[in-house]
């Protein structure tokens, strides 16, 4: 065990955990943030995507030791009132079916739009290819990202 100091969703945290513990475990079971989901456990599906210093990492294979002194944002911290453009677009298009993969989808989409504010279909497919949706909502995901691209991005607390 070790004390891992980090910042999660804007709050300083001291996690008393095994440094080898997957970040996903720490987020869900230690910090208590359940929005990030366990999918495959081997970085293949993207359901567990969170932001580590702004990058869309897979928390299921990221050891807690990697986040020491770093900044993590989960779906709960992406915006103050669920009003990040991606979240607003997701609601407007009603993207999810079962919803299980969508916190990961949204976290990946947020990185895409930060780096490419007006993505083409091809850009979206490239950026989102690592996030699998077994309900097959890919067309709505693409549509929502285009919608979010046209929204005011001056919201969002921790992005």
């Amino acid at each position: 065990m070790a004390i891992i100091k980090c910042n999660i969703n804007g709050r300083e945290q001291s996690l008393d955990v095994d440094p080898q513990m997957p970040l996903l475990w720490a987020i869900r079971d230690v910090v208590g943030l359940k929005g990030t989901k366990y999918g495959c456990g081997v970085a293949q599906c993207g359901a567990c995507t969170v932001h580590l210093n702004g990058e869309a990492v897979r928390s299921c294979v990221t050891k807690v030791s990697r986040i020491s002194g770093q900044k993590v944002v989960t779906i709960e911290g992406l915006s103050a009132n669920n009003d990040h453009p991606v979240q607003r677009a997701w609601q407007e298009i009603d993207v999810p079916q079962c919803g299980y993969c969508h916190s990961g989808q949204i976290m990946s989409a947020a990185v895409l739009l930060r780096e490419n504010p007006n993505p083409t279909d091809e850009d979206i497919d490239t950026a989102m290819a690592g996030n699998i949706c077994r309900c097959g909502t890919y067309l709505r995901i693409r549509k929502a990202i285009h919608l979010a691209a046209g929204m005011d991005r001056k919201v969002g607390r921790n992005e």
Binding site: V42, A43, Q44, T49, E55, A56, V57, R58, V61, T62, K63, R66, M107, S108, A109, V111, L112, E115, N116, D123, T126, A127, M128, A129, G130, N131
Partner: protein, 208 residues
Amino acid sequence: MPFKTIYLLAILLSAMGILATTFTTNATLRSTTSAAESATDAPVKKDSATSVKAFANVYKVLMSPRCMNCHPAGDVPLQGDDSHLHTMAPRRGTDGKGLYAMKCSNCHQPTNTPGLHTPPGNPNWHLPPAAMKMVFEGRTPHQLAKQLADPKQNGGKNMEQLLEHANDELVLAGWNPGEGRTLPPMSHAEFAKAWTTWIKAGAYAPKP
């Protein structure tokens, strides 16, 4: 402690038969690196036949999946012992480190992830950059040797830097590929010896 002294000590301890069970994988890699660096110091006479013969072994390693998979002809890395296109089709990006939410280090951690076929790790995991793709896939021995020896195609490396590249951390990662992946066809020490011989004997390219 001077490097050669460390190396001599390692040989002495080997003779006492106590090394085999005391080093971890990483330490073993460092040990083979030591042998490789020692080989780098050995004088080699310029000779095209010697150089080309050594390159045959270099080529075998560079065309193995552990090396070639990150030197693809396209902009998507290869994966697995059959060198199929990487699942999820991550793209090279300008710097070779991926694009948007699909950057290499999002899945590839600083060290190998435990488990069969899980993402192998390295702190500097990347493809060659878009401006100089340093493609291995599909290259003949002649083409690859020419490419490797040309600073305009090898990442701007002169011969000295090229010699050192055999001990690059990402090159060494090929011999620590994670569970479920075959190793290159010879040890790193053997590869480094061939690499050094090829370069010091003149970095000649085999005939087309």
